[in-house]
C-alpha cells in the first residue's frame, strides 16, 4: 500500500522525463555538448553553484545553530525572513536583488567604484543562487541541531571548551547527517536556479540560462543536451558529497 502510493508519485515524476526523452531523442547530445557554449555553461554552473553552496553552508549552518539554540526577541521574525526566499517566485527574488545590489543602487555603485560588478557577473549569479538556495541548508541544519541534547553541549563547556569549540566538536559532528541533506538540497537548487539568475545576471551563462536560450531559439529538442548534462553533473556532485560526508 505505501509502495503503491509511493510508486504513483515516482511514475508521475518519471512520465514527463520519459516522454520528454522519447519525444526529443538523445541522438546528438554528445555533439551538442562538445560545443564550447555548452562547456562554458557547465563550467560556469559548477563554479557558481559550488561557490553559492559553500557560502550558504558557511553562513547558514551557524545561523541554523543560533536559531536552534538561542531565544531572543524578534526570533520568529527572523525565522519568517529565512523562509522568504523559498516562497518568493524567483522573478521577484531577482527584482529584489536588483533593487538592493543593482549598479546604480548605493551598494552596487560603491562596489562598481572599486571594480566589482554585482550584477551581470559571476558574483551576480552567486548572489542570486545564494539568495534562493540558502534557506534549504538553514531549515534542514536547524532541524538537525534541534535534535541534539543541549546537555551534551553544556558538558563540553564544563570540560573546558568555548562555545565555538563546542560547536565544532559536538554540535557539528552530531548534526552531520542533517547538514549533509541540507547541502544536497541547496546545491541541487543552486544548480537549477533560473528565474533570479536570469534577472540578476543572464550573462555569463549558467546551464539553466543556456537551456532557456536554447529553448527559445531551438525549442524543446534543443534543451535536451544541456538539460541532461545538468542532471548528470548535479547527481555526480551529490554522489561525491554523500560519499565524502559519510
Amino acid at each position: 500500500m505505501p509502495a503503491l502510493l509511493g510508486g504513483l508519485l515516482l511514475v508521475y515524476v518519471a512520465v514527463p522525463f520519459v516522454a520528454f526523452l522519447a519525444r526529443t531523442g538523445t541522438a546528438d547530445v554528445l555533439a551538442r555538448l562538445a560545443e564550447p557554449q555548452a562547456q562554458v555553461a557547465v563550467r560556469n554552473s559548477l563554479l557558481t553553484a559550488t561557490t553559492s553552496t559553500i557560502v550558504a553552508t558557511v553562513l547558514g549552518v551557524p545561523l541554523a545553530y543560533v536559531l536552534a539554540r538561542r531565544s531572543f526577541p524578534g526570533k520568529r521574525l527572523l525565522e519568517g525572513l529565512i523562509i522568504l526566499p523559498l516562497v518568493l517566485p524567483p522573478v521577484v527574488a531577482g527584482a529584489m536583488i536588483l533593487t538592493a545590489f543593482g549598479r546604480f543602487t548605493p551598494i552596487g555603485a560603491t562596489a562598481y567604484a572599486v571594480g566589482i560588478e554585482l550584477t551581470g557577473s559571476f558574483i551576480g549569479i552567486v548572489l542570486a543562487q545564494t539568495f534562493v538556495a540558502a534557506p534549504f541548508v538553514v531549515v534542514t541544519a536547524r532541524a538537525g541541531f534541534g535534535a541534539i541534547d543541549e546537555r551534551l553541549e553544556r558538558a563540553s563547556r564544563s570540560l573546558g571548551y568555548t562555545a565555538l569549540g563546542t560547536f565544532r566538536h559536538v554540535a557539528l559532528p552530531l548534526a552531520r547527517g542533517a547538514i549533509l541533506a541540507g547541502i544536497t538540497l541547496t546545491f541541487a537548487r543552486a544548480m537549477g536556479e533560473f528565474g533570479a539568475t536570469y534577472m540578476v545576471a543572464s550573462n555569463p551563462r549558467t546551464m539553466p540560462t543556456r537551456i532557456w536560450v536554447d529553448f527559445i531559439n531551438g525549442g524543446i529538442d534543443a534543451v535536451v543536451p544541456v538539460g541532461l548534462a545538468l542532471l548528470a553533473v548535479t547527481l555526480a556532485v551529490l554522489a561525491v558529497v554523500q560519499r565524502v560526508g559519510r
Binding site: G102, R103, G120, N203, T209, I216, I220
Partner: protein
C-alpha cells in the same frame, strides 16, 4: 464562461491585461486569457505544440508570417505599431541629462560607462536587434562615424524585455533601448527616436530595410517597421472568439490601443492571406 486564450509577445502584456482584455470583455463578455513570452519563444512553442492558444500575437509581423502562416494558419492581420527609443533612470547622470533635453541622446550614450545602458539580447528578441539596426541608421542619419560599434561595446545585452526594464527600474541600469509602450507601462521617462530610426512608420519600410543584423548562426534580418500582427490558429479551441478578438484589435474601438501606448498608422489595419469567413477589418 466564454473565453479566448492569447499567446502574445511579452511587450504586449500590459496592452492585453490592462486595456484590450477589459475593453473586449465589456463589449463581448469574452474573457481574454493572456500568456506572454518573447516573440521567438511564442512561435517556437506553437510550432512545438507545447502551447495551443486560440490567438497568437507577434511583435514582429514577419516572424509570425514566416513561421506560422502556411502550417498553423493561412492569414494574419497587422493591427498596430510602436515606437523605439530610450527609457532612462532620471536619478543617474545619463538619465538626468536626457531629462534636461539639451543634449542629443547619441552624444550622451557615448559618455556612459560599459554596462550602464542595456539592450535586449539581439539573438533572442527583436527589441535587441532593432537596437543594433537603430544605432546603424542613427550613425548614417547624424553622420557620426563609428557610432554603432562604439556604442555596441558600451551597452550590455541582457536577457529580454522584462529584464531590460527591470534593470532600469531596479537601479542596475541608467537607461535602455525600449518600446514606447513599455516605458509607459512601467512609468519610466522615455525619449522616442526620430522617425528615421524609430521603426514606427510603415511607409519608411524601405529605409528601415537598409539596416541589417546578422545572427550568430549567419542568418540575416533586415530592419522593418514594428508591426504587431495577430492570427487565429487552425486548431484553436475557440476559433469564433479568436476571430472576434482579432477583429476587435483591427478595428481598435475607442482607441484602446492608443491608450495602451501603441501607435496606429494610416496604413493599418492590413490583412495578409485570405481572411476567414466572418472576419472583416
Amino acid at each position: 464562461e466564454s473565453s479566448v486564450s492569447v499567446l502574445s509577445a511579452g511587450s504586449l502584456a500590459a496592452t492585453f491585461e490592462d486595456h484590450v482584455g477589459p475593453a473586449f470583455k465589456s463589449e463581448t463578455e469574452i474573457t481574454v486569457q493572456g500568456e506572454y513570452f518573447g516573440s521567438n519563444a511564442v512561435m517556437r512553442m506553437v510550432e512545438d505544440g507545447t502551447k495551443h492558444p486560440d490567438v497568437v500575437v507577434s511583435a514582429d509581423a514577419t516572424l509570425l508570417r514566416d513561421r506560422l502562416v502556411g502550417t498553423q494558419t493561412d492569414w494574419d492581420v497587422e493591427f498596430a505599431t510602436n515606437v523605439l527609443g530610450i527609457g532612462y533612470n532620471a536619478d543617474t547622470a545619463f538619465g538626468s541629462r536626457m531629462a534636461a533635453g539639451e543634449e542629443d541622446w547619441y552624444d550622451l550614450i557615448r559618455e556612459t560607462e560599459q554596462g550602464d545602458v542595456a539592450i535586449s539580447n539581439p539573438e533572442q528578441d527583436p527589441l535587441g536587434y532593432r537596437a543594433w539596426q537603430a544605432f546603424g541608421l542613427a550613425e548614417r542619419e547624424h553622420g557620426i562615424e563609428g557610432f554603432r560599434s562604439e556604442v555596441w561595446d558600451l551597452v550590455e545585452q541582457v536577457a529580454e524585455e522584462p529584464q531590460v526594464l527591470g534593470g532600469v527600474e531596479g537601479g542596475s541600469r541608467a537607461g535602455a533601448v525600449v518600446y514606447g509602450n513599455m516605458a509607459r507601462d512601467h512609468d519610466i521617462p522615455f525619449e522616442p527616436f526620430p522617425a528615421a530610426y524609430n521603426f514606427a512608420d510603415p511607409s519608411l519600410a524601405d529605409h528601415y530595410a537598409t539596416a541589417e543584423y546578422t545572427f550568430e548562426d549567419g542568418t540575416t534580418v533586415e530592419g522593418r517597421p514594428i508591426l504587431y500582427n495577430a492570427t487565429v490558429l487552425d486548431r484553436a479551441d475557440a476559433p469564433e472568439n479568436g476571430r472576434r478578438l482579432v477583429e476587435f484589435l483591427a478595428n481598435n474601438p475607442d482607441d484602446v490601443l492608443g491608450e495602451a501606448g501603441l501607435a496606429t498608422a494610416d496604413s493599418l489595419p492590413r490583412a495578409h492571406g485570405t481572411l476567414p469567413d466572418g472576419l472583416t477589418i
